[in-house]
Amino acid sequence: MERNINDATAVRVNDIWKSYGGTSVLKGVDITLLPGQVHALLGGNGAGKSTLMKSIAGLVNPESGSIEINGQTLSNASPAAAQALGLYLVPQEAHILPNQSVLENICLGLRATAKSLRGDIENLVADLAVKLDLDAQAATLEIADRQIVEILRGLIRKARVLILDEPTSALTPHEANALFDRVRQLQAQGVGIFFISHKLREIREICDVISVLRDGAIVLYGALDDYDDQQIVEAMTKAAVNSPLTTPQRRQNHQDFSASACVLELDQFSGEGFHDISFDVRAGEIVGLAGVVGAGRSELAETLFGLRPSSGGTVRLLGHELKKRTPRHCVDAGLVYLPEDRQQNGLFLEASLAWNMSGYTMHRLGFFPKSRRETGEFAEFREALGIKCESPGQPAGRLSGGNQQKVLLAKCLAANPRVLILDEPTRGVDVAARNDIYRLIHQLAEKGMGVLLISSDFDEIEQLADRVIVMAHGHQCGELSSHAINVDAIAHLAFESGAASHA
């Protein structure tokens, strides 16, 4: 900031154009980042945010236009060239080398040896208030820890320009705050930061400047304080917004579900990473399963769905004990699970959308599945969920995050479940798609489906859940219902109990 601003832009992008297979993704984008600035970048699915950032990071070669990083032109785009100019992109989906140690993963590509950086990294880990075993094999890391590895990569590189692509999507509020402190420190040191996020609250907290992308062009740019939330969301979604999209409506009437039929009942259920969990889900009810990452929630869900062995306790589904738990039995009995990591466990990325939709019902389709019926069914879901795609035959990997998530939801719904377990259903999904998904979850509950919602986003839990179970360190440490549900109460339980069981 103290330097001469004229020749010291951190990033200057000039009239960038890029198209994929005939469709223009970036249509002459100009964007400038100054040192010491935190620049928020917003946009819906497919607006071109990722492509823009990948162009700056040298991962994508734009067709025309120029990119300057720290005053030097990025020619011959490659990640190596961009990094040599002092830029690092922390991607949304962590790139992990599964066979290497965590330490190696962080240090790879740097000139200094892993050994000499160990101390610095340990300090960073302590600063971020996260727990990370540097000697563990990276394959054993949970998805949140992988993201932390990516963030550490960005921080340890002492980059002059950092791009953070939804860095908090897998972090707890606590960790996110620690990261923001770190971002402010970097800002004070004159590091320029592009910050991509869908959470306006976060953006308000740390960003100075905002740009909104829509259909490959910047539609809003300026100091963040000049715009209110409504203006920003309108810029993103173009169409005048009728419903207030920033804060989707919480269910109005907190019904009492104690009279409804019990669809899922756990009694002293134990397995890898969780112990003695007992709760029930009633028809039409949305039960939130809150907690910090590593509390054992995903393990619980995976064990319920038969992906991991259980070590005790009983599960009753629709009144019958679910003894034989394999994914297929669960699906047939009416229990369906939407996994946390859609790229790895959820979708067949190369397969068509219609195939993906019948993922859970493949065994019911007969020896010769009729593709016409499949396409027809997919068309219904496409309409109902608002999936944006070219055709049902398109590979799932080509869709944007939000649309992939909707396809995954279609896959779950195609199995006609009575109980739906949603594990982080809005991770890496933009505001508009997230609201679609929220609305859908409400509709499903109203139709009488029991929903178990796992989320680390306590706002989300507050907005959606009728009742909340809080887990910490593998234990059930509290339950909140109706008006007692709020972010603070959940956080209090999730963190306090964690601390208590550690003492």
Binding site: H95, P98, G109, H275, S497
Partner: protein, 350 residues
């Protein structure tokens, strides 16, 4: 953890090898001798050299099935040069360059032209063998000069010049993969190519380097081959690529890339060679060789698979055990936290 896994495989194989030696030693006294060791060592040189190059390629998550033909081609180049009165040293240098060019060709096909390595090297397997046959006109190359054969002769302490050369190659590859930044890039590229690219590693350069190194090592194997048997038949090196891949797998090199080590390949090659020599010693008819070698290979891999599953289970149990004891022994905080929560319909129901 990674080291443990890698060493674990090497240790398993090492144990089996030692056991096999002892058993054969009991069955056929006289097998366990320095002369046997010397025979195994010189018999293993060709496979060792090719296997080393194959390892580098596999580490980057590619595969090279053309090394047998590269071996043959460069051996023929060497033989033709020597029989046309080119000096030994320049001939060897040209032969190695020839191997490097063959590897470069493979590397360019895989990187610039984006051909899957199995297909590219299957193609060059035929191509290089064809060039070799065109060069020789289909004839064997015989009457190689004494200076070449001398390289394979054991000196006063039972070690030939070629053994020293292979030892240097082993040490060199070990040092590079283990101790240099560039060596780590081989593992990184094989482990997760996209991640490596993202971290600013020149993925194509690393992949091409692996193929070039494999080509040079295959050419070195060609020199060893020619020196050891004194002539170059048309089928020189035929099938050695598959043996090299098997030795790699046996030595714990993952075909999925990103893990493996030089000691692993070393033990794998020694194991495979000693099976052959033991069968000779036990006077088992030669036509049993392939059957027994295949069966032993499967046996070792199955055994190792079991060990791995057990280890993984132990690691999982350890990882999740963190929560368990806290609950039973530390039961006091639980009711304390429970009290904070309002009574719920569900609790009443129970």
């Amino acid at each position: 953890m990674l080291d443990f896994f890698a060493r674990n495989r090497v240790a398993t194989l090492f144990g089996v090898t030692v056991l096999a030696f002892i058993l054969i030693g009991i069955a056929a006294p006289g097998y366990l001798s320095l002369s046997t060791a010397s025979v195994i060592m010189s018999n293993s040189l060709v496979l060792m050299t090719v296997g080393l190059g194959t390892m580098l390629v596999i580490l980057t998550r590619n595969i090279d099935v053309s090394s047998g033909s590269v071996l043959g081609l460069s051996a023929v180049v060497l033989g033709l040069l020597l029989n046309n009165d080119v000096g030994l040293v320049p001939a060897i240098v040209i032969c190695l360059i020839c191997g490097a060019l063959a590897g470069l060709f493979n590397g360019l096909l895989v990187t610039l032209f984006n051909v899957p390595s199995i297909i590219a090297t299957l193609g060059t397997l035929g191509l290089f063998r064809g060039i070799m046959l065109i060069l020789t006109g289909g004839k064997w190359i015989e009457e190689l000069p004494q200076s070449l054969k001398f390289l394979a002769e054991n000196g006063s302490i039972g070690i030939s010049v070629l053994t020293v050369a292979v030892a240097i190659a082993l040490a060199g590859v070990w040092a590079i993969t283990r101790h240099t930044r560039f060596g780590r890039y081989f593992y990184a590229v094989g482990d997760n190519r996209e991640a490596a690219r993202h971290l600013g590693i020149r993925v194509h350069l690393v992949q091409i380097s692996a193929f070039v190194a494999a080509g040079i090592l295959a050419a070195l194997a060609g020199i060893i081959f020619a020196a050891q048997i004194g002539f170059i038949p048309n089928q020189a090196g035929n099938g050695v690529e598959l043996k090299a891949i098997a030795a790699n797998v046996l030595g714990g090199v993952s075909l999925l890339g990103g893990s493996g080590s030089v000691p692993g390949v070393f033990v794998g090659v020694i194991f495979m060679t000693s099976i052959d020599s033991a069968l000779v010693f036990l006077k088992i008819p030669a036509f049993w060789n392939d059957f027994i070698a295949g069966a032993v290979l499967l046996l070792v891999l199955l055994l190792d698979g079991r060990v791995r599953i057990a280890v993984e289970k132990a690691i999982r149990a350890k990882r999740y055990a963190v929560h368990a004891p806290a609950q039973t022994s530390n039961a006091t905080p639980a009711p304390h936290t429970m009290r904070k929560t309002p009574a719920t319909p569900q609790e009443n129901a129970q």
